[in-house]
């Protein structure tokens, strides 16, 4: 060629350019922020030296649990675009799996949580093989049906205590420190989930998932094994929810289907993602914090759980109508997103 440039030169130049862009992005990224957040969470239990902060710890644990679950739901619902309204089934499976190991063999859930996650992921994989054949509204309906099937099974399965559930033995720790093991375990689960969510979004796998959410047929014809990608996303998102369930089960010391298998748990996961911003890494966490703070206030003012349900629904309608992209998504679109929240 006249210019003396080969194809390989062009490719190399393009690669350099892309890497340059990526490293600029990395330099501008406020990586310090999640780390500082994590450090603060690690240090928070120090408050307990003076005592009287069990409620704060409980609230943080609860928020971290939902941040983990919402982030996990986001892998399927946000990146892949498959809305599951029965994701608490995996929360339940995780809780019961570890809970039964604890009740029958005395092994603490904190150790068996990864196994519980794995059990949830296996079930998720199997269920996904069936239900992910459907798309759009039909998938959503099948996820509700899954929840109903699980509810009937757990309500009538005597081995796991049926609808009365089982009471789990408590750890022998003075009340002042009793929450700490669960607090730190949940923190690990939460951090792991968010990290995984970040890594997935920035991987070829994540790119495939997002292609599926844009246009599944085109994604398929572009060479993505959409079936495998979807099912894997479903299993991964079941895994972390299952782990959270395992720790939560031992933390509250009893398992009962009407704790795990109520629609409000699933609704919360969905709503947190919508509020914070579906498909963003930071969105589910922001959503979880906002919604839990809001719920806590509404429970303080109104009490009854029915009102809480009403308010959850109202917030969801308003969020869907006026902020369909969520807090993080809307801010990003307006280029007003503070750098500390730009985790994508």
């Amino acid at each position: 060629m006249a210019t003396g440039l080969g194809v390989s030169d062009v490719l190399k130049a393009r690669k350099n350019y892309n890497e340059g862009l990526a490293s600029t992005g990395r330099r501008e990224r406020a990586t310090w922020f999640p780390l500082v957040l994590l450090a603060l969470l690690v240090l928070l239990p120090a408050l307990q030296i003076t005592g009287g902060h069990n409620y704060t710890l409980h609230l943080m644990l609860y928020a971290m649990m939902y941040a983990a679950m919402a982030s996990s739901w986001n892998i399927l619902g946000g990146y892949t675009g498959y809305i599951s309204l029965g994701h608490n089934v995996f929360f339940c499976i995780g809780g019961y799996f570890s809970g039964m190991l604890l009740a029958y063999f005395g092994v603490t859930s904190l150790l068996t949580a990864p196994l519980a996650g794995l059990a949830a992921a296996v079930v998720g994989f199997a269920v996904g093989l069936i239900t992910l054949k459907m798309r759009g509204p039909t998938f959503i309906i099948s996820s509700i049906a899954l929840l109903m099937v699980a509810r009937i099974l757990f309500d009538h399965w005597q081995f796991v205590g049926g609808s009365n559930g089982v009471t789990l033995p408590q750890m022998d720790i003075p009340a002042q420190w009793a929450k700490l093991p669960y607090y730190y375990s949940m923190m690990v689960v939460c951090a792991l989930t968010v990290w995984a969510s970040y890594r997935i979004k920035h991987s070829k796998f994540g790119l495939g998932l997002r292609a599926i959410s844009q246009d599944e047929v085109k994604a398929e014809s572009a060479g993505i094994d959409t079936r495998f990608y979807k099912v894997l996303a479903f299993a991964i998102s079941a895994f972390f929810v299952g782990m959270a369930g395992a720790i939560w089960g031992e933390y509250i010391t009893y398992l009962r289907p009407n704790i795990f298998l109520i629609i409000l748990v699933a609704a919360n996961m969905v709503l947190m993602c919508i509020l914070g911003g579906k498909g963003t890494v930071a969105g589910p966490i922001v959503g979880a914090v906002v919604l839990i703070a809001f719920n806590e206030l509404s429970v303080t003012f109104f009490g009854a759980s029915e009102i809480n349900l009403l308010i959850t629904g109202l917030v969801m309608v308003l969020a869907l109508k006026f902020f369909p992209a969520g807090i993080v998504g809307t801010l990003a679109r307006k280029r007003r997103l503070p750098r500390v929240l730009d985790w994508d």
Binding site: L85, I141, S142, I144, M148, I152, I263, E306, V317
Partner: protein, 293 residues
């Protein structure tokens, strides 16, 4: 043996009529607007509450309360469509968006009814609810017989309305092809509004009948979502006749399963059927294969 099977068949068919009425509004709304209305079952329960309070406070028979429940729910339906769904027509992710919106509406209504009336089990008790027709060895509970018969009457009226009136034709045209209907001069927006109202009114009418054959409480509707969806999906989404067929078929199957395996499994029939249908024949019995929205 034979007479006991006949007995189960009759009970299944009587309930099938009511299920058909419950599903008819759902499938009508899906047909015209492509909205999967997850809030449909809670509207049925709202209708049941209207009948319940009319019965408790004024002694109005639930069957006579049916038109009142339907009218109240019609107004609610129209208001809901105006407030929540009308502007969504332009939304890019329409089907996903509307499902989530109906889910949120269902949460609201569930919470509201629960807060107002609490989640205790209720049932209206007109005299016929505990009586039965007896023919030799088989019997039909009067409540279920009346409810089934009236459901069929209402469905018949609905079919007549859809097939023999101008507005009904407009609804059917919109169901078949929204864009073409609009080009032919059908006011699609108005058709959608009225159809949504009619669909929710049908839920209210079904609720009045449900009030004396099932005990109900607000949180029960989650179970019904999956039940109704299985009927509608079996018949083919948006196909009214299909939904009626599906309702009778599954109701009879569930009645047999309930008799021979216990009542827990009779509910399970619907859920498992839903999975099986979606896997084997997702377009349903009468549905035509349509592209996913």
């Amino acid at each position: 043996m034979l007479s006991s099977m006949l007995q189960v068949l009759i009970l299944g068919l009587a309930l099938g009529g009511v299920y058909a009425l419950m599903a008819s509004g759902l499938t009508l709304i899906f047909g015209v607007m492509r909205i999967v209305n997850l809030a449909h079952p809670i509207m049925i329960i709202a209708g049941a509450f209207v009948a319940y309070w009319l019965f408790r406070l004024y002694g109005v028979d639930p069957i006579l309360a049916m038109p009142i429940a339907a009218s109240v729910l019609f107004v609610i339906g129209v208001a809901l469509y105006k407030l929540v769904f009308e502007k969504e027509a332009a939304s890019a992710k329409y089907s996903e968006m509307t499902v989530l919106l109906t889910f949120a509406v269902a949460l609201c209504a569930d919470g509201l009814l629960g807060a107002l009336f609490s989640n205790t089990q209720r049932v209206t008790t007109p005299a016929y609810a505990t009586d039965a027709f007896i023919f030799g060895t088989v019997f039909i509970p009067k409540g279920q017989a009346y409810a089934g018969a009236i459901s069929l009457l209402v469905i018949g009226a609905l079919l007549a309305f859809l097939n023999f009136t101008r507005f009904g034709t407009a609804i059917r045209a919109t169901t078949q092809n929204r864009a073409a209907a609009q080009l032919m001069g059908v006011n699609v927006g108005r058709v959608s509004l009225i159809t949504f109202g009619i669909g929710i009114a049908l839920a209210g009418a079904a609720g009045a009948l449900v009030s004396f054959i099932f005990s109900f409480f607000p949180a029960k509707h989650w179970e019904w979502i999956a039940i109704l969806m299985s009927l509608v999906v079996l018949g083919g989404m948006g196909k009214l006749v299909g939904a009626i067929l599906g309702a009778f078929l599954l109701s009879v199957i569930a009645a047999f399963v309930g008799t021979y395996f216990g009542s827990t499994w009779s509910t399970m029939t619907f859920f498992l059927a839903l999975f099986v249908i979606l896997l084997v024949k997702p377009e349903g019995l009468l549905g035509d294969r349509q592209e996913e929205a």
